[in-house]
């Protein structure tokens, strides 16, 4: 009986100790990766292009944070234009979708969308993280304060019509994205004072 208790204790102690060591050893790397991923997301939502981690670090230096109303926005000048981005999170079909949406200075146009994390079905709702879906927000005009999500399709390339394609086979995720993006747009318009 005593042996069982002692054995269990020692085994638990030994393995948990080794795990803590590994955790400590990999932590700086993991945190660095998360930080780079976050900076990358903000930069691409702001429409800033980059190719290497060094470039990310360097270009991120030009990004400032400002408080507008009760939102903390990231801002920088990209392609000679003042742009703002805000990190959002909202309820997807299976879990929380976190991302960054970028808009121009009066929030009449989106400049970029980036997804940081989601738990949608891989290959269906998970396609919100694919380039064709996000690219639709690179300069999409916001009409009457909203962006329409049309069903299906493989990427809407008309940036004037205030419409993007939803995802075939993932209506619920598309619905969630519609709610999240349009809520985000109305918050951003309120904060930046745009009224399109």
């Amino acid at each position: 009986m005593l042996y069982t208790v002692v054995f269990t204790f020692i085994v638990c102690f030994a393995f948990v100790f080794l795990l803590s060591l590994t955790n400590e050893a990999t932590r700086p790397k993991v945190e660095f990766n998360q930080e780079v991923a976050r900076q990358q997301a903000i930069l691409s939502a702001l429409g800033v292009s980059f190719s290497t981690p060094q470039e990310v670090e360097q270009k991120y230096k030009n990004v400032e944070t400002v408080k507008k109303g009760n939102m903390t926005l990231y801002t920088t000048t990209a392609n000679g234009e003042r742009v703002y981005a805000h990190q959002f999170s909202g309820q997807g079909l299976w879990g929380t979708i976190t991302g960054v949406l970028g808009v121009n200075s009066d929030a009449t146009k989106t400049v970029g969308l980036e997804i940081i994390s989601h738990s949608e079905t891989p290959g269906l709702g998970g396609r919100i993280d694919e380039a064709w879906f996000k690219k639709q927000f690179d300069g999409e005009t916001i009409k009457n304060g909203t962006i329409q999500f049309t069903s299906g399709g493989s990427g809407d390339t008309n940036y004037q019509d205030g419409q993007v394609d939803g995802i075939t086979g993932a209506s619920r995720t598309t619905d969630s994205m519609r709610t999240i993006i349009n809520r985000e747009i109305s918050n951003l318009q309120a904060a930046l004072g745009g009224n399109a």
């Binding site: 269990t8 738990s119 891989p122 290959g123």
Partner: protein, 207 residues
């Protein structure tokens, strides 16, 4: 499974785990992950490599500790050992392959619940030496890997028109949505079990 317990040489262990007593189509273990992570070959490959590593290492560890382990707590200790290796895999992926770790999401953590790992620890490592147990774990993982990759091959090809993310189907190809969803894995798995058993039956390996 008495069949497996009596396999004492490495060649026999290899043949049994990969073929005549394959964890998926003979023992029907590890089915949950066979349904969940088989719609993309890249994810399947990385997760199954994780499983091979964890099965091998946990069988080795269980076998080393078996004479010290009180019978009453052996299951708890086995779970602890398995969880230990799974968390190591998870941390290494997070640190060195962040994008893969992101796309696998919770599935790496769920390796802990893969029945094959505990099955091997209980059925083989408890009664065999460390080296042979390690080999048994590795080959069981490989048997699992082979079947999952075969399922993922069909699912990614028909569901996305791609293999390892590269488009291979002609331009006019319409992806089969069902192949992306878990139910398709049920159908393909059923077919795999059918084919596997039919061949084994012909070879007279089925009792």
């Amino acid at each position: 499974m008495s069949d497996t317990a009596t396999a004492k040489n490495p060649g026999d262990v290899f043949r049994r785990n990969l073929w005549t007593n394959n964890p998926i189509f003979m023992q029907v273990l590890g089915i949950c992950s066979a349904l969940a992570v088989t719609n993309l070959l890249t994810n399947t490959l990385i997760m199954t490599i994780g499983v091979v590593f964890v099965t091998g290492m946990s069988s080795l560890t269980v076998s080393i500790l078996k004479s010290l382990m009180p019978r009453k707590v052996r299951m708890i200790v086995q779970t602890l050992i398995i969880a230990f290796y799974v968390i190591i895999v998870d941390l290494v992926l997070k640190a060195y392959l962040p994008t893969v770790s992101k796309s696998l999401g919770p599935y790496v953590g769920l390796i802990i619940t893969n029945c094959i790992i505990m099955g091997r620890a209980e059925a083989f490592a408890q009664s065999n030496g460390p080296i042979l147990s390690f080999w048994d774990g590795i080959t069981s993982g490989m048997g699992y890997m082979g079947v999952l990759l075969a399922i993922a091959f069909v699912r990614e090809l028909l569901g996305f028109g791609a293999l390892f993310g590269y488009h291979v189907m002609p331009a006019g190809f319409v992806p089969w949505i069902i192949m992306v969803m878990p139910p398709s894995a049920f159908f393909i798995l059923g077919v795999v079990i059918w084919i596997g058993k039919a061949i084994l039956n012909k070879q007279g390996e089925l009792a």
